[in-house]
């Protein structure tokens, strides 16, 4: 591995000129992240507002009506009194309401006599979309808890039964999906700039025959790889910084961890992504195949299996095992921790170690496959 400064400088200068003159590199590195963040941050929103809930009240009572008012006051819920259970079920079936809240006859009584707590109310939910159903459950329980707390304070009662609901949503107290998705999108952006862009650029060099003349020149393989990866590493890091800045300013996503950890994690992941992109293009040698492979082998897993959109814990066991082979999962885990929780080293360090292993493996494979030959 011989590296000559002058050759390296010449190669780096060439890469920079290519990046600057080639609109596709700039598009993928800077415009695409914006589009992805906007689409994922605003478009694919798991939040729901003004979900209609029918209320079937078997015993109208001042306390109960107050509770309904409190529920209705939540921006997420829209409570509509229903005449009967039958009418409410019909409305649910027609899709006019997403859920039915049933308050039984004995509810006011139990509420007043804490000894006989908990007072029970039933919530029926349209579960065709389980995600929304879960969210509705969350909102209703949340709103009820808030109301109960208020009641307790007002009545200055601290009965032995206490409050029957003890639930809090950590890290994302508002349950805002942007906070949850945006860190994942950053992982996707880095996969894009790292793997997709690199594999396209190198495949293009094969297609245009420039790789052939580089291989026939005195430049060593180490110089060629170093110049290429170095330039795209800087581009990928800039792209990452842009995305993080956009997430914090435009989407108001909090950042609670340390910048150093963010840099180390991104750098390790980027080394993996770049080396993998180089590997793909060396094997494929044509832009079309390279982009297909890059998409299927890295983009799809990064989206589906990294925990960015779908909770890994909710996947079938065998699929959970598969996710360990997706380096994006470690990055997503670190990013979500850094953004929403802070420097929780118990989470960050093992994931960093996994990223380091992935980067080392990809680099080794690339150096093995990329030889100074055409055959």
């Amino acid at each position: 591995m011989i590296v000559t400064v002058q050759r390296l400088r010449g190669l780096v200068r060439k890469e920079i000129a290519q990046i600057l003159r080639d609109p596709s590199a700039i598009l993928i590195a800077f415009l695409l992240p914006v589009v992805l963040l906007v689409v994922n941050g605003f478009g694919i929103s798991f939040d729901a507002y003004h979900m209609r809930v029918a209320a079937v009240i078997e015993a109208p009572d001042e306390g109960v009506l107050g509770m309904l008012e409190a529920l209705d006051a939540s921006p997420y819920l829209d409570v509509r009194p229903a005449a009967s259970m039958v009418a409410a079920q019909q409305a649910l079936a027609m899709g006019e309401v997403r859920g039915i809240l049933v308050v039984r006859e004995d509810f006011p009584q139990r509420l007043r006599h804490p000894a006989s707590w908990p007072a029970t109310a039933a919530l029926w939910v349209n579960a065709t979309d389980p995600n929304t159903a879960r969210i509705l459950e969350g909102y209703v329980t949340g709103a009820l808890t808030v109301w109960l707390q208020g009641q307790g304070a007002e009545l200055r009662r601290s009965p032995g039964g206490g409050l029957s609901l003890e639930q809090r949503d950590w890290f994302n107290p508002e349950l805002r999906s942007a906070d949850f998705i945006v860190p994942g999108v950053i992982a996707m952006v880095m996969t894009m700039t790292g793997t997709l862009l690199t594999s396209l650029i190198v495949a293009r060099e094969w297609e245009r025959g420039t790789m052939e003349s580089m291989l026939a020149s005195p430049a060593t393989m180490a110089e060629l790889i170093l110049a290429k990866l170095g330039c795209y590493f800087v581009l990928g890091m800039l792209s990452m910084l842009g995305s993080v800045a956009l997430a914090i300013t435009a989407f108001g996503v909090p950042f609670r961890g340390s910048v150093g950890a963010l840099f180390v994690a991104s750098a390790l992941f980027l080394v993996f992504a770049l080396a993998f992109g180089l590997l793909i293009s060396t094997v494929a040698r044509n832009q079309f195949v390279a982009s297909q492979v890059a998409f299927i082998a890295t983009m799809m897993p990064a989206m589906m299996l990294s925990g960015m959109l779908f909770d890994i814990a909710a996947m079938p066991h065998w699929l959970q095992i598969v996710t360990f082979a997706v380096p994006a999962r470690y990055l997503v885990s670190i990013l979500q921790t850094l953004f929403l929780a802070g420097d929780v080293w118990a989470v960050i360090l093992p994931n960093l170690a996994a990223l380091a292993v992935a980067a080392a493996l990809a680099m080794a494979a690339t150096l093995r496959v990329t030889r100074r030959r055409l055959d």
Partner: protein, 585 residues
């Protein structure tokens, strides 16, 4: 000092795709490259030229045998030889996003050249290649000829002791080809003391004749390895010019070519170039007016190829009855009538008021330097590009008003093989018959005819991608003719094929023309242009000349150039027209 390259019993195979046996690219090759001369690596496409160059450049590992470059074994020690090798791949190998200067700087950096050395060499190479005015231009925006010159300058920058050039003259107009040659020979002269060697791969046989030594490759084997003079020597006294006295050129060619004593007969202006078989007597051609000619490289190539190739493939069997075009009945006007045709791209006028007519059954050629507008004209006449102004009638249809109707009457054969490589011959023909909208009976008839007329029946079930180049070409031609077009458009149809295959192809084209099909060809190859009845030379968007090849030659005949070739005529006419246009501007 040992020769720069020594090759011993070299063999190289490409692994076969999906279970097919490996393809032998080079077999049992033993030779050496001498310093101080240009060694021509000559052969048709797929002969193994590029593979051999890549092996010499250390880009491929020899399968068997040894290849030693400047004392280094390329199987183990290629890196040590790299600094002394200048290699120019077929596809430029330039960075199109970099400027001319940027590309040169990159190569200077790769060779770790000091600023002083750079300052001494780069301006000189720029001046030499005529690229000085374009130093700030992006390489991607250069013309084909200039790109090749830049590629050459990059390869020459380090003063390599071995310069490997892979078909530098492909897709380059004749004037630029001559310039490239001049640059290389001048650099060779400068590097003589270093023992510089040049290997120049080419499919142009006239370039081979100028080389100091020629390696003739055919299907991976070395057919010959000697100076061009010794190639030609055995043909002395066997080459004649036969004047065509009466009748058509094509009829005369057929008559003479089928004479058993004749090895080869090709048209050259208003005469035929005739090569007799070994041992044949001139008496066999009694009755023809013959003048002896000096033999040239192509004659010897044909002679050697016909020894190896099966005798039948040289020319198609006696004139087969050719299907007349579907609409001989239509109006008796010219097949193509172009009047004041204009095409602009933004502010650039690619075609500037071009007018010409092509008669029915005529073979008409469009020639011109790179970027002159001949491809644009050609595309407009095929109905692929809309004219910006003027009129063009093709097969009686107005291209501006009824482009679809005009397209239905033309056949088009692209330069590259544009059929489906994964389909069999029969499947390809069926597909094209359906695309042309033939009815069921028409499809069956057209396909049966195509298989018979183009000798495709034996390979009907072979996958098209696996056919040899010549057969592929026959298939492409048969597909373009399925719907019985009135006019056939050909785009450099025989670039890169060996001369035997080219003769076979043009003999078929001649038969088609005799049957009344009009042929429009665009080409860079003077060999192809010779087959045309008339030629239009396009320069800077305008017609520089329209005439028969013989007349074009006569126009540039001077005392010091008593027997100009078509290439001489082309270069002189383009140069005169350029001066004339510049003066007018």
């Amino acid at each position: 000092m040992p020769p720069p390259v020594v090759i011993e019993r070299l063999r190289y195979t490409f692994p076969g795709a999906r279970g097919t046996p490996p393809t032998v690219a080079l077999d049992c090759l033993t030779t050496r490259i001498e310093p101080g001369i240009v060694t021509g690596l000559v052969g048709p496409d797929a002969a193994g030229k590029t593979t051999l160059l890549r092996l010499m450049a250390g880009l491929l590992r020899p399968g068997d045998g040894r290849i030693t470059v400047l004392g280094h074994d390329m199987a183990t020690d290629a890196a040590a030889a790299h600094p002394s090798i200048g290699y120019m791949p077929q596809r430029f190998g330039l960075y199109e996003d970099l400027t001319v200067a940027g590309n040169l700087d990159l190569f200077a950096d790769l060779h770790v050249m000091s600023p002083a050395l750079r300052a001494a060499r780069i301006p000189r190479l720029l001046q030499f290649t005529g690229l000085t005015p374009f130093i700030g231009r992006l390489a991607g925006k250069l013309s084909g000829g200039m790109k090749q010159k830049l590629g050459l300058a990059c390869a020459l920058l380090s003063r390599p002791r071995l310069l490997l050039l892979d078909e530098p003259s492909v897709g380059v107009d004749p004037a630029s080809r001559r310039e490239l040659w001049a640059i290389v020979t001048a650099m060779l002269e400068e590097g003589r003391d270093d023992g510089m060697a040049v290997v120049w791969a080419t499919a142009y046989l006239d370039e081979a004749a100028r080389c100091g030594r020629v390696l003739l490759l055919h299907q991976g084997r070395l057919l010959a390895d000697e100076p061009p003079d010794s190639f030609i020597a055995p043909l002395a006294g066997r080459v004649f010019r036969a004047r065509i006295t009466g009748g058509s050129r094509r009829a005369a060619e057929r008559r003479i070519a089928h004479n058993p004593a004749v090895l080869d007969a090709v048209m050259e202006g208003d005469a035929l170039r005739v090569v007799l078989r070994e041992g044949a007597s001139v008496d066999a051609l009694a009755g023809e007016t013959l003048d002896p000619l000096p033999p040239r490289f192509e004659d010897s190539f044909i002679a050697r190829l016909s020894k190896t190739a099966p005798a039948s493939s040289a020319t198609p069997a006696t004139p087969t009855e050719t299907e007349p075009p579907s609409s001989t009945r239509t109006d008796e006007g010219p097949a193509i009538a172009v009047n004041g045709l204009v095409r602009t791209f933004g502010s650039f006028t690619a075609v500037d008021h071009i007018s010409f007519q092509v008669a029915r059954g005529e073979i008409f050629g469009l020639l011109g330097p790179n970027g002159a507008g001949k491809s644009t004209t050609f595309r407009m006449l095929c109905g692929l590009l809309r004219p910006s102004g003027g009129t063009a009638r093709v097969a009686g249809q107005d291209l501006l008003r009824a482009p679809a109707a005009a397209r239905a009457r033309i056949g088009y054969m692209a330069q590259r093989f544009s059929l489906y490589g994964e389909l069999t011959v029969l499947e390809n023909l069926r597909f094209f018959a359906r695309v042309y909208g033939l009815d069921r009976a028409g499809q069956a008839r057209a396909i049966a005819q195509a298989l018979e007329r183009f000798d495709l029946a034996p390979v009907a079930d072979t996958v098209a991608g696996e056919l040899p180049l010549g057969v592929k070409q026959r298939l492409a031609l048969s597909a373009a003719l399925l719907h019985g077009p009135d006019i056939l458009f050909l785009d450099e149809p025989t670039s890169g094929v060996d001369p035997l295959t080219r003769r076979e192809f043009w003999s078929r084209i001649g038969q088609l023309a005799d049957a009344g099909v009009t042929i429009l060809v665009t080409t860079h190859f003077m060999d192809e242009a010779e087959y045309c009845d008339r030629l239009a030379i396009v320069n800077q968007g305008r017609l520089a000349a329209v005439d028969t090849p013989a007349t074009l030659r006569a126009r540039v005949r001077r005392p010091d150039l008593p027997d100009p070739t078509l290439e001489d005529a082309f270069i002189a006419l383009v140069a005169a027209d350029t001066t004339c246009q510049e003066r007018a501007a």
